[in-house]
Amino acid sequence: MNYQFQFDAVFAAWPLLLKGTWITIQLSLAATAMGLIVAIVCAWGKTSGPSWLRFLINAYIEVIRNTPFLVQLFFFFFALPAIGLRWSPYTAALTAMVINLGAYATEIIRAGIESIPKGQIEAGRALNLKGWEIFVYVIMKPALKAIYPALTSQFILLMLSSAVVSVISADDLTSVAATLQSQTFRSFEIYIVVTGIYLALALAFSLLFKTIYRHALDYPDRR
């Protein structure tokens, strides 16, 4: 093996890498927040909506779950301008990630909502709780505890698949890697450092989610 590793080119660009990491985290958090809202609305629609709404939501979920994220991204960035919707790479990436997460998270949240026994809701009504109070305290809070592992692993999957948005030149960490590579030609060093950063991010968020669970959601319940 007569390849000389030269990591100084990579480490000299650490401000750029930091900025790319920050944009990746920002993108993932924003997409998760909006995706969860989409998912809660769709989960509500699937459980208590009219049958045409259920059909539409099911069609949306099946299409998103059976097509690759890259193709969805290309659709939002390249195909939609043909009907007049021209977005920046960041907006297209965010939209694609929100739509993608919304489909997967809808199933998770719906499963969580349906795992609450009907007796709980009846008990809430018997205690004269208002409709939104029942939804937040009797349905969503216990459901959140049950679906928390699935949701947090979806977040980490989303953050990892956000690497793909570099293909439409949104400024995330993988884009930074591609830029550095075109400047320094040190492909292997750059990509191994960037892979290490993603791994560190995944582990850090995993730890963060476990800590949040222990402090906020680990209360004893009957199950």
Partner: protein, 217 residues
């Protein structure tokens, strides 16, 4: 400049054979590797467990795109001249091995420990224990999630387009650059993936329902 007609449509459809070929390679290679990983994770050797755990964490905790790039750009480092086929194949096999290994570890650990203890009591060796007692039962449990994961493999092959492997997505990019009609092109690409993946998803859901019904009895 061409317009998107039947010939362009068929170009994209014919590229689906490379998607399926790459998915098959990834599944077969990944299954062999995944079995080894699952056995290592459930073995009694702490070293094997640790190595398998680190391997799974690395390949589940990093993006598939970067794994592809590392193998594609990293092969010249060790002196190999690599082409997109080999790079995509190796990266997908390694990635699939990690995910299938984790799925199958769960299935092996779902078998009651009493089965293994009974096999010990009957003086069955490690290979016989696995081949005759644990794995046949684990296979039945593993079938629905494995079929479900095949959908993820097929979707994962789309990333090979970025390193220049000509499968459905890359064929779509090529036709898009020739016709400048991205709406038709990418709808076709999405439809092809949907036609391949949706039956598998339905099959996996049906198998899962049958298994849940059988367990509830």
């Amino acid at each position: 400049m061409r317009t998107f007609g039947f010939a362009e449509f068929m170009f994209i459809v014919e590229a689906a054979r490379w998607t399926l070929a790459l998915s098959a390679i990834a599944f077969v290679g990944g299954s062999l590797l995944g079995l080894l990983v699952a056995l290592a994770r459930t073995s009694e050797s702490a070293a094997a467990q640790w190595v398998a755990a680190v391997y799974i964490q690395i390949f589940q905790g990093t993006p598939l795109l970067l794994q592809l790039f590392l193998i594609f750009f990293g092969a010249p480092v060790i002196g190999l001249d690599i082409n997109p086929w080999v790079a995509a194949g190796v990266a997908l096999v390694l990635n699939t091995g990690a995910f299938l290994g984790e799925i199958w570890r769960g299935c092996i650990q779902a078998i009651p420990h009493g089965q293994t203890e009974a096999a010990h009591a009957l003086n069955l060796g490690y290979v016989s224990r696995l081949r005759d007692v644990v794995l046949p039962q684990a296979f039945r449990i593993a079938l629905p999630p494995t079929v479900g994961y095949m959908v993820q493999i097929i979707k994962g092959t789309s990333l090979a387009a970025i390193i220049g492997f000509t499968e459905v997505t890359r064929a779509g990019q090529i036709i898009n650059n020739a016709t400048f009609q991205p709406l038709q092109v990418f709808t076709t690409v999405a439809a092809i993936y949907f036609v391949i993946c949706w039956p598998l998803s339905l099959l996996a859901a049906r198998m899962e329902k049958k298994r849940a019904r059988a367990l509830a009895r």
